[in-house]
């Protein structure tokens, strides 16, 4: 990513576009990422939203967005984006909209919509080559309803619907790979705690046409059970332990943009969060901890070979 205008932290936007005072939780990792993303995307956008935490950003008569917004439903935000984009193209072609008035079509959903209910609409939008940017804030559960497990929940996590001694029995779905299999214009993982990496990827995404996904890990104080002041630290630990690989898919290749040279043990990430407390208390669940660590190691080992 040598062509970037974001060489150092000093190059990041210094004025912020997204308004404050919304109903979102203190320390929301999704909102942290959205602030950083919106600063670069700018206000010439129409944000098409699916049911989730961020639906509460725009509550009548207030909105933190300087651009436009359309709330749809949980399953069909990409289809809403299709209708809006198609209509904007029709208006452009017929001279009823000038190029200066045109907007970037942005879908904004949580993992519940992105990994599950909205996947059919998403796949359809990608296969049609819809020119849109999909922003997913992934807090690894149905956060807005109290953090029940979703297709994005990691193995072993306690959620409101997996409170047993071993937590969630399933494994986190690989949405990055699902998107990449469609051969879209761009896919990237980001986290708000790595703003420079995030900025470069938004810059990449903004300058491309076609279906693009920005998949942001969204550390969630309420759902993951940690203090709101620790959001950035948890985000950094997700990268440093190798839990959340920062990568991008472009031009048919997957490239890791920030490889942790010496990965921290995953325990450093897990033990900071109440949702994994049962792995340590009342006694250590050595087998499960080793399994989680082994899966992370295998991911990175496969990468090197």
């Amino acid at each position: 990513m040598s062509e970037t205008r974001f060489q150092t932290m000093k190059d990041l936007p210094s004025c912020h576009l997204l308004g404050t005072g919304t109903a979102l939780c203190a320390g929301c990792g999704g909102l942290e990422a959205l602030h950083e993303i919106y600063d670069i995307l700018g206000e010439k956008t129409v944000v098409v939203n699916a049911a989730g935490c961020m639906t509460l950003l725009a509550v009548y008569p207030f909105t933190p967005f300087r651009g436009s917004w359309l709330y749809t439903a949980m399953a069909s935000a990409p289809a809403g984006a299709q209708g809006v984009r198609d209509a904007l193209d029709i208006l452009l072609a017929k001279g009823r909209l000038t190029a200066e008035e045109d907007l970037q079509t942005v879908v904004l959903t949580g993992d519940g919509a992105a990994y599950g209910m909205g996947l059919s609409a998403t796949s359809g939008a990608i296969e049609r080559g819809l020119d849109f940017l999909y922003l997913c804030y992934d807090n690894e559960g149905y956060g807005n309803t109290g953090q029940q497990y979703s297709g994005a929940t990691p193995h072993g996590a306690r959620t409101a619907t997996s409170k047993g001694p071993c937590g969630y029995p399933g494994y986190k779905k690989d949405l990055f790979a699902i998107w990449a299999a469609h051969r879209p214009a761009y896919v990237a993982t980001v986290v708000g705690a790595e703003p420079l990496d995030l900025a470069r990827k938004i810059e990449q995404a903004k300058n491309r046409q076609g279906p693009r996904l920005i998949l942001s890990l969204a550390p969630c104080p309420t759902g993951w059970d940690f203090d709101p002041s620790e959001t950035a630290q948890i985000g950094r630990l997700a990268v440093q332990t190798g839990v959340w690989p920062l990568k991008e898919y472009r031009d048919g290749q997957v490239v890791h943009t920030k490889v942790p040279q010496k990965r921290l043990p995953v325990e450093d990430y897990l033990k900071r969060q109440g949702r994994f407390a049962h792995l340590f208390q009342p006694q250590r669940n050595e087998a499960l901890l080793q399994e989680i660590q082994a899966r992370i190691d295998a991911y990175w080992d496969n990468l090197q070979s």
Binding site: E43, K44, V46, V48, T55, L56, A58, V59, Y60, T63, F65, R66, G67, S68, W69, L70, Y71, T72, A73, A75, S76, A77, P78, A79, G80, A81, Q82, G83, V84, D86, A87, L88, D89, I90, L91, K94, R96, L97, E100, E101, D102, L103, S120, A121, S123, G124, R128
Partner: protein, 414 residues
């Protein structure tokens, strides 16, 4: 103006074409598919300047339709049956957006059991969605209804989506002579879409469909929606007058056939009402004063027009081509609510269920319904709702059940 032999689906496609639709989000389903195939062909061969996008489902299709309409283009789409139900969440949602577009529904019975042939449970499931509804009985009405629907949908006093309904098979695949007006004449009746305050553009940010917290703002917007839907009746009447001036065909919210001096009246929706018309003619020949009322407009519900038309009648046979299990016919309930408590209008209402899944309603059944209704009026006591079914049909079903039993026994099942 040209006269063509068109199926109901063909007439729907012509209606859309003449309305100058700019966007067609689509998804195939029987018996609607011919509509989108016809329009797709016109687009592919340069006869229609319209953009078509096939979505992954009807749910997505209606989302895209609403999204495009609130961005400011003229949108048309079509579905049937299971598709309408699959889209149901977005019917309510896009109606709440006040997105003006036209959806053709080709009625078909709902699963289970799965079937292809028509009844009205699909369209009536959308009764409370906030879409306006026109119920067509002929192929001509389908074409004309689409033009009227755009006038209603886009009117500043209304701004709501409209469903134009036609019956699967009976209309969708039946060819009738249809007057196809000239494009220039249609353009005078229906000017290009004026999006007014709708649209997303840089420099004029707009937040559409934001959340509300609490019942007060929610109630406000819902009441606004209701009042707009009520406004649509006057807009329909005005549009129908303009339509008659332009094209010489006049429409009323409720079609009345030989009703003026009628003692008994059938009330029905859709194409099966043409069977009732034929029965009315036969009964008239036999000296019975019978008529037919057919609401073309179901939402908004033309309660006043129905009251006027039924004032002083002895008996009314409401024939519902739908069934709300555990209750009965939907139209019967709607009509009863319109007539109840009115000083000048208390005819005996009798409820019949028929025509489910495309089952025929025979002339003899119409005569019997008239007789039952006449008797009820004389006795001052309505019978229980009748489920139309003939003895021969029951025999046939018993035969099939016997075959199924034999098969199960052969396979050693209890």
């Amino acid at each position: 103006m040209t006269r063509m032999l068109l199926t109901g689906n063909g007439a729907a496609a012509w209606g859309a074409r003449l309305a100058g639709i700019e966007y067609l989000p689509a998804f195939p389903i029987t018996p609607q598919t011919e509509i989108i195939e016809t329009i797709a062909k016109w687009i592919d061969f340069g006869e229609l300047d319209c953009r078509m996008t096939t979505l992954d489902s009807e749910h997505s299709m209606i989302t895209a339709a609403g999204g495009a309409a609130v961005t400011g283009v003229r949108v048309f789409t079509a579905t049937s049956s299971q598709g309408l139900l699959y889209a149901m969440e977005m019917l309510y949602t896009t109606a709440g957006w006040r997105a003006p577009f036209v959806l053709v529904n080709v009625s078909r019975g709902l699963a289970s059991p799965i079937t292809l042939e028509p009844d009205h449970n699909d369209i009536l499931a959308a009764r409370d969605s906030g879409f306006l509804q026109l119920h067509c009985a002929t192929c001509q009405e389908v074409l004309d209804g689409i033009l009227l629907a755009y006038r209603m949908a886009e009117d500043g006093r209304v701004r709501l989506p409209v469903i134009v309904n036609l019956d699967g098979f009976y209309l969708s695949f039946t060819r009738e002579p249809v007057e196809v007006p000239a494009a220039a004449a249609v353009a005078r009746f229906l000017p290009p879409f004026d999006a007014q305050n709708l649209g997303f553009r840089a420099g004029a940010p707009l937040s559409e469909a934001v959340a509300v917290l609490g019942g007060s703002p929610y109630s406000y917007f819902r009441y606004q929606h209701h009042l707009a839907a009520l406004n649509a009746e006057a807009v329909f009447e005005e549009s129908a007058v303009a339509f008659a001036r332009c094209f010489g065909r006049s429409y009323q919210a409720v079609e009345a056939y030989r009703c003026d001096d009628a003692e008994l009246v059938f009330v029905m929706l859709g194409s099966f009402a043409t069977k009732a018309k034929a029965a009315v003619d036969c009964l008239r020949e036999a000296g019975q004063a019978v008529g037919l009322l057919r609401p073309l407009l179901l939402r908004p519900f033309p309660a006043a027009a129905l009251r006027r038309a039924l004032a002083g009648k002895q008996g009314v046979a409401v024939i519902d081509q739908n069934l709300s299990p555990g209750k009965g016919g939907v139209l019967y309930t709607e009509l009863a609510s319109a007539l109840y408590g009115q000083a000048d209008s208390n005819p005996m209402l009798v409820s019949f269920i028929g025509g489910l899944g495309g089952r025929d309603i025979s002339a003899e059944e119409f005569y019997e319904m008239a007789a039952v209704t006449r008797r009820a009026a004389a006795e001052g006591q309505a019978p229980e709702p009748r489920l139309l079914y003939a003895e021969a049909e029951l025999c046939e079903i018993k035969k099939w059940q016997a075959i199924a039993q034999v098969q199960r026994a052969k396979e050693g099942q209890p």
